[in-house]
């Protein structure tokens, strides 16, 4: 087995172990289709898992009432890719947005990103989040769909170190290591996903030879 397939296998194993869903895609277009499908299948803008059905304080309830349609946020795509993605969404009646996420804190259905690096030993994604909208897309969303080009996979954090350092040394920067969905075990040590950030993390491994 080559080192590369080894790293790929380790990545899938480790990411899956922390409840991420991992799939392979052949193109970015396939990734868009995947995201649209997931959005289609999930509960219609009820934000069920986020707790809107639960009794809330007046302030909490007001936030829930703000959201009306399903929303996908893909804030860091180039114009051409964004247009292709938007076309797919249009057909299903979803809104695709690339900015202004501050006004969407009631929750967005899917945050869509393309990651800078992957770290196999822990199943970790490295995402440049210098743009505020990228941060919000991956935190306010219920499902985070992250594309990781296979060529960006590194075996260990030490192997990714030089590249990670470059981001940090290049002016103000905000870099995220993301491993699985947001989680807590603060109540009786019972694991619960999605406490503040996404309830699910889907990783799409992109073939990019």
């Amino acid at each position: 087995m080559t080192a590369k397939t080894n790293a790929l296998e380790t990545f899938v194993k480790k990411a899956t172990a922390v409840s991420a869903k991992v799939f392979e895609v052949a193109s970015l277009k396939e990734a868009f289709e995947y995201a649209v499908d997931v959005c289609d299948k999930k509960q219609a803008c009820q934000l069920l898992a986020s707790g809107c059905e639960l009794p809330l304080s007046g302030q909490g309830q007001a936030l829930c009432d703000e959201k009306q349609t399903k929303v996908i946020a893909a804030p860091a795509l180039n114009k051409k890719d964004f247009a292709a993605f938007a076309k797919l969404c249009e057909g299903r009646g979803f809104e695709l947005i690339d900015g202004g996420l501050r006004s969407r804190l009631a929750g967005i259905d899917i945050g869509f990103t393309v990651c800078e690096l992957g770290i196999a030993e822990t199943g970790t994604l490295v995402l440049d989040s210098a743009r505020e909208d990228v941060r919000l897309a991956t935190m306010v969303s219920e499902i985070h769909v992250a594309v990781l080009p296979k060529s960006r996979l590194r075996a260990t954090s030490y192997e990714a170190e030089a590249e990670v350092l470059k981001f940090m040394q290049n002016g103000p920067n905000y870099l995220a290591f993301i491993t699985g969905a947001s989680r807590t075990a603060d109540i009786e040590r019972v694991l619960a996903l999605g406490v503040h950030g996404p309830l699910e993390l889907h990783i799409l491994l992109l073939e990019d030879k």
Partner: protein
């Protein structure tokens, strides 16, 4: 927080905590699960090497805090960050309050920060009229309950789902179901409105990396990302000890910290913030970003050659996870603000002697924390030294002074023991062989154990008759008895002499030897500890023997590891103490590895005796001896069965059990219950202190298994020569 005025009051608080059944059950479940999770997490790594690397790197960083601060400040300022340095907790709070005032802030959201707990930042900000909301779920829960954290990583571990449901019903004004999944979602929604409306976010920092001028934050919930993204102002509060030269240092710590904290390979989020990032409502679309470094005694601590290692701590909380005392009483009693073993130390340095003086006594010295510490801090030793320092500052209490005086003078000590033997005559129960009543120095709470009487003839008086004649000896061996075996259990030493016979060991029992001195260390009597050590090193000349063998795990560990340090400042003794320590070996290792005691030495017996083992703290962790005793049991033809938690302390802890009898009893009961579950007919261990605790406890409870020292059990089965 710890406010007990004296030890009595503190003990009574601990008793109350021990009566909290939910807490006890939660802690037990956690302690057991944690052990497996941690082991799995480190399974394919070289854990010891990683810990040693972290310790070295942290030491180097701590030695250069000024330089790292200057480098960090220059880099961060270039990226638009305001860097502050606060000398005290009050100064840090004032700086942050000023930032809030000048920024026109009303509401503040916080991501968990132990450093902010240290400075009591919330109190300060709330007093200034700001609304402060904690966003880490556990922190939010305890904030709503007006409590402090009871664990560094799991602040609300002491609370049940029912308590949380009641609390959330109150907060939302709606009846909430008792369902953890749903309660978490309620928190998600309620807290999101706070992120959206806050003007300022406050976080801690797990790292401040000098080469980038950026900070790193480790979280599972992701709240740190929201706290540092949505509000227009971000203030990070970090202890100076979080400064680290390179990103590599941080990546290295990340390999150990989550594994040690919760058994995770990494947390869900690690957030790296370098410079003032994009932020829509901020000035010119940028975040107003401040980093406040807190000294609060850290730079003074960095100059203390012995205690500077305290600053290695990465705040993983593992020392609490494995502490048998924390497991009994919880973090509100095993700490002031910082909890667990490291908490006992940090309390003294950050919050002062008054807060620490009772806490530091509640350490049983079992060494479990030292073994798991991600940065290799010698926690149990430093806790004892803080205890000693506090007594040096405040004056030593009479009982510990008396003990110091008595133990410093071997002749006085031994004649007291001989006199006590006569005094106890009328109270020895002829049937059980134990004392009928506990001596008056023991209070009623000690009734859970039976104490053995002092032996009629101490080992030292039997020696002349026992001394074996060895022609052409292969090894010259000095026996070190320790006071318990010499005066209470001389039969254990006699048994050892029998096991060693025929293997070419010429044994000596130097008469000038006395107590090893560990009890006075536990009592904080530094001077007496030095006097006792010097006495023994003089009594047993390391030049005259190849090995110094002791059947007491506590003595062995103390002689080997503490003597060279205790005597290092004494030019006449230092070298001798090192050579002495090098020769110290425990009974099992000596029998198995040096003498080669083997199957052939034992009579073959067909009846297998189901035998459980208790691993003494000072043997399995203090000396790292785990295989030798278990192998010897098997070689002797015994049916060794593994009891749960074999290597958890039996609750003796020498003088600890005098001060905290209820805790001692609870630990003992757990131990004996685990042995009982195995169905063993005998329990074997290799420390006379453990024998005293276990045997006396089993006697009082009416347990049917017998408790033996390993030397006794082997001697019984050894072939006659």
């Amino acid at each position: 927080m710890q406010h007990a005025k004296n030890l009595e009051e503190y003990r009574s608080q601990c008793r109350q905590a021990m009566d909290d059944e939910f807490l006890r059950k939660a802690m037990d479940a956690f302690a057991v699960a944690y052990r497996t999770n941690r082991a799995n997490a480190f399974a394919d790594m070289n854990e010891r090497e990683l810990i040693a690397e972290i310790a070295d790197a942290k030491d180097a960083a701590v030695a250069n805090l000024d330089g790292l601060f200057a480098e960090f400040k220059a880099k961060a300022e270039k990226n638009g960050v305001h860097v502050h340095l606060a000398r005290t907790a009050a100064e840090a709070n004032e700086i942050i309050a000023r930032i809030a005032r000048e920024g026109g802030v009303k509401k503040i959201v916080k991501s968990k920060s132990m450093t902010a707990e240290e400075t009591l930042l919330n109190h300060h900000l709330e007093a200034d009229g700001y609304e402060v909301v904690e966003t880490d779920l556990g922190e939010w829960i305890i904030q709503l309950r007006h409590e402090g954290p009871s664990h560094m990583v799991m602040p609300a571990i002491h609370l049940s789902r029912y308590q949380v449901a009641d609390l959330f019903s109150e907060v939302t004004g709606q009846k909430q179901e008792v369902d953890i999944e749903k309660l978490v979602k309620v928190a998600r929604r309620e807290l999101r409105t706070h992120y959206a409306t806050a003007d300022m976010g406050i976080s801690g920092a797990n790292f401040a990396v000098a080469e980038t001028g950026g900070i790193g934050l480790i979280t599972n919930e992701g709240n740190a990302r929201l706290v540092t993204t949505l509000p227009r102002i971000h203030v990070a509060l970090a202890g100076l000890d979080k400064l680290t030269p390179t990103l590599h240092d941080a990546l290295r710590i990340i390999k150990a910290l989550p594994r040690n904290a919760t058994g995770q390979a990494i947390t869900s989020y690690v957030t790296w913030i370098t410079g003032a990032n994009e932020c829509a409502p901020g000035p010119e679309g940028r975040k107003e970003h401040h980093i406040v470094f807190l000294d609060n005694g850290r730079s003074a601590l960095a100059k203390d050659s012995d205690f500077r290692q305290v600053l290695r701590c990465v705040r993983c909380g593992a020392c609490a996870n494995v502490c048998p005392v924390y497991r009994l009483v919880g973090g509100h009693k095993m700490g002031h603000i910082y909890i667990g073993a490291i908490g006992l130390l940090l309390t003294y340095f950050f919050h002062g002697r008054e807060k620490a003086k009772n806490l530091v006594q509640n350490c049983i010295n079992c060494g479990a924390c030292k073994q798991v510490c991600a940065a290799g801090i010698d926690l149990p030793r430093l806790i004892k030294e803080v205890h000693a320092r506090i007594q040096d500052e405040e004056g030593h209490p009479l009982p510990s002074k008396l003990l110091g005086t008595v133990l410093s003078n071997r002749k006085l000590f031994h004649s007291l023991l001989r006199t006590a033997k006569w005094g106890q005559k009328p109270v020895v129960d002829g049937k059980t062989g134990y004392l009928r009543h506990l001596p008056l120095i023991f209070s009623k709470e000690h009734d859970f154990r039976a104490l053995p009487p002092i032996a009629d003839t101490p080992f030292r008086d039997r020696w002349e008759k026992l001394r074996p004649v060895v022609e052409h000896p292969k090894y010259r061996v000095a026996l070190f008895s320790g006071c318990v075996q010499d005066f209470v259990y001389p039969e254990q030493l006699e048994a050892a002499v029998k096991v060693f016979a025929g293997h070419g060991a010429a044994l000596e029992f130097p008469m000038g030897q006395s107590c090893c001195g560990l009890p006075v260390v536990m009592m904080g009597q530094t001077e007496a500890a030095r006097a006792v050590a010097a006495q023994n090193v003089t009594a047993i000349d390391p030049g005259s023997c190849d090995y110094i063998v002791t059947m007491c795990a506590s003595c062995a560990s103390h002689l080997k590891h503490a003597y060279p340090r205790i005597l290092e400042g004494d030019p006449r003794m230092a070298d001798k103490a090192r050579r002495f320590a090098d020769k110290v070996v425990d009974f099992s290792t000596f029998a198995r590895d040096v003498l080669g005691v083997d199957e052939g030495d034992f009579a073959s017996v067909s009846a297998q005796t189901r035998t459980a083992y208790h691993a003494p703290c000072h043997l399995c962790r203090g000396l790292g001896v785990t295989k030798a005793p278990r192998e010897l049991l098997a070689k002797a033809g015994l049916d060794y069965v593994v009891a749960d938690e074999e290597d958890v302390c039996c609750g003796f802890g020498g003088t600890f059990s005098m001060k905290f009898p209820e805790e001692s009893k609870a630990l003992l009961d757990k131990k004996l219950d685990n042995v009982k579950k195995t169905g063993a007919t005998q329990l074997v261990t290799d420390c006379p202190g453990c024998v005293m605790q276990l045997r006396g406890g089993a006697q009082r409870r009416g347990d049917t298994f017998v408790v033996r020292h390993i030397a006794e059990i082997l001697a019984e089965r050894v072939k006659p020569r």
